[in-house]
């Protein structure tokens, strides 16, 4: 494994009951790369992301993060690693959800500092300045003592991004981060994500935002029916799609 490959997914198979949702996915993400995954709903793109951080378990295949296997084939059996290694690997990844999933009973600041205090045993006086810095970065420092219900969707999602960042992840996963937002609110979230990309955060973004994929991503993957249909640099992908399914999808989107 060359040093700059951060994530390698190999021959991933996943079923929900009888329905095969991932049919042998192969994927590599390099350090600092922004990978956009696009495709129609039901194509398995969100599931793929959720398999990566073990919100779903896979039936077959291997997932390797920075040289450590989360899951691999051992004597023909798909085997997840031990609990300690798994926690270590999953700790490298932060996740942002379509539905934000902020903790409604905690203020914005409490949302940010809860996990570092519980999981990393940080002292609140050490984490609060870091959290405030992150809130300033997403432009919401003035909302630190507000409950999430008082925020707009775009603000909620920026808080969710800041919350994931307090755990200092090496990789950020975004599961349709703007799909639950009113169109006029997507811009502020995309701006925050663009900012992260400029700081060379490794990102995997499942999205319907073609403009974001084209302008910010280094690589675009198009999925349909549980398979990767086409992948490439955004330039060639959008200008010159090869596959019929990609072409018709892009035509419908643009």
């Amino acid at each position: 494994m060359s040093d700059d490959v951060m994530i390698r997914m190999n021959q991933i198979y996943k079923k929900f009951n009888q329905l095969e949702v991932l049919k042998g996915i192969n994927l590599e993400v390099k350090r600092g790369e922004v990978l956009a995954i696009i495709g129609p709903s039901g194509s398995g793109k969100s599931t793929l992301l959720r398999c990566l951080n073990r919100l779903e378990t896979i039936e077959k295949g291997a997932i390797e993060v920075e040289g450590e296997f989360l899951v691999q084939e051992k004597n023909g059996v798909t085997t997840y690693t031990d609990a300690v290694t798994s926690k270590m690997i999953l700790g490298k990844m932060g996740m942002v959800f379509q539905q934000f999933n902020l903790f409604p009973h905690m203020t914005v600041l409490e949302n940010l500092i809860e996990a570092p205090i519980l999981v990393k045993n940080m002292k609140s006086e050490d984490i609060i300045p870091i959290a405030e810095q992150l809130l300033a970065k997403v432009g919401l420092l003035d909302k630190r003592d507000v409950y999430p219900s008082r925020l707009s969707g775009g603000q909620k999602q920026r808080v969710a991004i800041a919350r994931a960042l307090t755990m200092k992840p090496d990789i950020m996963l975004f599961d349709e981060p703007t799909s639950a937002l009113d169109p006029e609110l997507t811009g502020e979230v995309l701006k925050t994500m663009r900012q992260l990309a400029e700081e060379h955060m490794t990102m995997i973004v499942v999205t319907h935002e073609m403009a974001f994929a084209r302008e910010v991503a280094n690589k675009v993957i198009f999925m349909a029916d549980g398979e990767i249909v086409e992948e490439g640099s955004p330039k060639s992908f959008f200008a010159n799609p090869q596959e019929i399914r990609t072409k018709s999808f892009l035509q419908n989107m643009l």
């Binding site: 999933n101 519980l118 409950y147």
Partner: protein, 214 residues
Amino acid sequence: MEKIIGMVMPMLDGSGITLQIFFITLALSLPLGLLVALARISGIRPLGFAMEVYIWLMRGTPLMLQLLFVYFALPMVGILLPDLAAALLAFTLNYAAYFAEIFRSGIQSIERGQYEAAKTLGMTYIQTMRRIIIPQMLKRVLPPISNETINLVKDTSLIYILAMNDLLRVARTIVQREFDMTPFVIAGVFYLAMTFVLTWLFNRLEARYAKYDE
């Protein structure tokens, strides 16, 4: 007037027993109910099944029967409890079962996304329950918990059959002695007063939880 005061004084004593049963039962059955709820949804099959059986027994038989069982049947197998302890045992086991079901439904009403967010932030199951799920659950279950608590005030009168001098039994004794119905009215006022205080307390609690919306 003097006559009424003469009635109220022993009834105050009686309400002491009533309040004792009420507060101790509440203090024991709420945490026990939460533990039962957590055990029931723990995913450990035998444990979950045992809790289901326990809840079924407690909800499926009259509280009166349970009281009689603890009071009269347990001594036959050599378990002899003081009156108050026997009553508390039956009340606590019964109310814990109802509270457990309320807590369980509350826990299960919390969106899966909350668990997923906690998990991706590295929290363990216990941390997630303690810091994320249970605090949100408490807000949602306040109204049904309030209901059950008010029921408990009135259910304490069932110890009447155990010959313990609670509020209702004292009232009945005076009624029979004086042939005057006033003690029943006074008892009614006592129960109403307790319920009034409880309602007020729960409203305060709900107001406190109203600082955040979901």
